[in-house]
């Protein structure tokens, strides 16, 4: 059973990761908040035993990706229209919105791989474990995603 202190710690630790994954799936502010609450509620109810911090993080990422996919199915439950939807606020020194937009344009399966590989720094084997896919599938998706990004933004995507 979690305590209030545990909740504070875990929200501070994983809120940004969940928000980034939601963003990569094109979610707005309200959806991101709903997904974040669902992920943490699942963690509270399941209360799984993790071998390490890395294991815990992988569990959170996996559940967040599933929630993002499931949220599309429940899109009719939205209370706010797409026009009213508030975007996730982004503060940056250098304008890298074109990179984010390029990633957002990728198919869902490719954007997960790109995010996990480039931002979270997971290897192809680890990504295969998180997404429950074969290693070769992950390599194939990564090559295709790189090629698509290269076509969209130009330059070397290595």
């Amino acid at each position: 059973m979690m305590t209030k202190w545990d909740i504070n710690v875990i929200v501070e630790e994983y809120a940004d990761t969940i928000t980034r994954i939601c963003y990569s799936y094109g979610k707005n502010y309200d959806d991101t908040q709903d997904i974040m609450q669902n992920v943490f509620l699942k963690l509270m109810r399941a209360n799984p035993e993790f071998d390490s911090k890395e294991h815990e993080k992988a569990w959170i990422i996996r559940v967040t990706i599933n929630e993002c996919k499931d949220f599309l199915k429940n899109i009719f439950r939205r209370h706010t229209s797409l026009e009213e939807a508030q975007e996730i606020p982004i503060e940056e020194k250098e304008d890298l919105s074109y990179i984010r937009e390029a990633v957002l344009k990728l198919p869902d399966k490719y954007k997960s791989v790109i995010y996990l590989f480039y931002y979270e720094g997971y290897t192809a084997v680890e990504i295969a474990g998180i997404l429950h896919k074969k290693e070769n599938t992950v390599y194939t998706w990564m090559n295709r995603a790189r090629q698509m990004l290269k076509d969209m933004v130009g330059g070397d995507v290595e």
Partner: protein
């Protein structure tokens, strides 16, 4: 490019408002969980189901013990010796012959599952028992509970008494019928023989009378003897 992708996503962060709202929702959920009454929790129902199961198992085993366990032992004494094991419900759970006659009767009548009074009656009603035992039946009850023993002994004594009475009534009636039948048979048979014999004697007498002029005192003796015999048959 990899740095750019990392930087591009690094600037995407959850704002403090989102974090605080998430924390509030989770803490509220945590409080409502801890405030849930005990009987609303699955553990309550599991414990309740477990307790009920234990009670059922205990009651079942007690009932099985009551049915299977021997509470009293009834010994039918006398020429015929039979032992009956009786459970707490006063039902015969097993019967054994304690001597040869007893074994023979037990092989004829199955009293297992009967109430002990019915079992005693069933045994006493068998011809073998009545032939061997006569009008005196004796039954002894042994029981852990003195009060139950006294009750059962009284019932058994009543059964013995009733058996004795019935036996005597039955046999006196049988004896009367037999005597009457014997008398009828005897009288009917006697007349027939007497007539036949008297007819034979008369012919013999006439023959003897014809020879009487030549006979000595022996014939008188014979006549006297025949006359005595006839007189005896006439009685």
């Amino acid at each position: 490019m990899s740095r750019k992708i990392r930087d591009a996503f690094d600037s995407v962060k959850a704002d403090e408002q989102m974090k605080e709202k998430t924390k509030e929702t989770l803490i509220a959920q945590l409080d409502s969980c801890s405030k849930r009454r005990f009987y609303q929790r699955p553990v309550f129902y599991r414990t309740l189901a477990g307790a009920l199961l234990l009670v059922l198992v205990f009651a079942g085993s007690m009932r099985a013990y009551e049915i299977k366990a021997e509470a009293a032992y009834i010994t039918m004494e006398g020429p015929v010796e039979i032992g009956l094991s009786v459970n707490g419900k006063e039902t015969v759970i097993s019967a054994e012959g304690l001597n040869e006659d007893g074994e023979s009767i037990i092989s004829q009548v199955d009293v297992t599952g009967m109430h002990y009074q019915e079992a005693l009656q069933a045994i006493m009603e068998t011809d073998s028992y009545q032939e061997c035992q006569g009008d005196k039946a004796k039954v002894k009850v042994s029981c852990h509970d003195d009060e139950q023993e006294a009750d059962m002994q009284q019932s058994a004594n009543e059964a013995c008494h009733s058996y004795g009475q019935q036996y005597r009534e039955h046999h006196s009636r049988e004896h009367d019928t037999e005597t009457e039948g014997h008398r009828e048979k005897h009288s009917g048979q006697g007349n027939g023989k007497h007539d036949e014999k008297s007819r034979g004697d008369q012919s013999e007498e006439s023959q003897e009378n014809q020879q009487s002029s030549h006979s000595s005192g022996d014939s008188d003796y014979e006549n006297t003897e025949h006359g005595h015999r006839n007189g005896h048959h006439g009685e």
